[in-house]
Symmetry: C3
Subunit: 152 residues, 3 copies
């Protein structure tokens, strides 16, 4: 199966990406590496506001992280034109908007990690750092950035 | 205009960089990439102490981030000898010392992003992650690290 | 002295690394760079729970960070097979589980930085970002990730 067939078999439709008018870019290529900007969790197109340990369960946080991974794949698709060219998902940084008492950032992050492993197989297995941050832009519950390697 | 002419036209004078005696380095080169250590916001040569949402406005935070970008350019200049050799500003990580209620980290980060875009043009448009952290060394209000690519 | 002789002369024994069954990997190689996942501080094989500025001194945090650096070297050893092949420790990101009042993240981070400089000499001097986070998975007091370059 191609990457797109696996995405379709999971019932996922990659969203359209409209690069924002901003002082920064959604992605930058450096050699064979693509650096994706931090993507925040969204719900119905708006920031998914919430804080783990305060007003959001771990399960919902995991769902939010999975949603961010879908958006990251859409940006990656825009960046390289063909997701089958992705040789390796190299690194994820998963920022979980956390109350000082919440310590399950790794479970939240799995929502993104497991989806990438399902879609990209062995090439989707990445290095990862997950931790709790004091806040995320717009009050979103999760933010994730990513480094991928293009295979040519 | 060269990068230095653009810097001068903005009324900016790059500060002298004195690499600290420390167990780590202000920058490290890996292949064509230069990794810059986290630089903290300073005012009159001392850490600019403050927390967004607590005792510092978004506007001042943006000014602080712009100041960090100036220091980052000075370190980059030391690292490569000639800023015109910078092929691309690849990635910024912008850490905003944030009270749990502050959600405008993206506006603070723009202080750095917009300056880099002004100075380096299209090559200055980088990928970025901005988020709120619980604290920054010395209580500084902003910390930023950077990856740049050298063009040869 | 080889890297292993320096490690032995410091009285350090690298622990066995058992890659966890997980959706992510302890390390990923991209070109000549090795990206290590965030490693959390442990004590007696379990997460070293604590927060700086709340219930853990800076000195203990520094010891915890040194311990994480030992675990990172063990993973690096697994990744490349021979630590003498490490051309450069490129970048460390040091996350310190911090109460809002704690501002000595740089001193905590030195526990890791100084050990890497002792073991790898000039090649161990890395770029670094250290900052305070709201929480770390499992409530651990310190988390560190690392990028290294392999020399061939």
């Amino acid at each position: 199966m191609s990457v797109y067939e696996r995405i379709a078999s999971l019932g996922i439709k990659l969203p359209e990406v409209t690069p924002p008018v901003a002082a920064f870019a959604p992605f930058v290529r450096s050699g064979n590496q693509i650096f994706l900007s931090g993507h925040i969790a969204k719900k119905d197109g708006k920031p998914w506001v919430g804080q783990l340990g305060e007003n959001l369960t771990t399960e919902l946080g995991t769902t939010a992280a999975r949603g961010v991974a879908i958006d990251l794949m859409a940006t990656l698709n825009l960046a390289v034109g063909d997701l089958n060219k992705i040789g390796q998902i190299v690194k994820l940084m998963v920022l979980v908007n956390s109350a000082p008492t919440f310590t399950e950032q790794h479970l939240v992050a799995n929502g993104a990690s497991e989806l990438l492993a399902e879609v990209f197989g062995i090439s989707g297995k990445h290095a990862r750092s997950a931790f709790g941050v004091a806040q995320v832009p717009f009050g979103s519950c999760v933010e994730i950035d990513l480094i991928a390697e293009v295979h040519e």
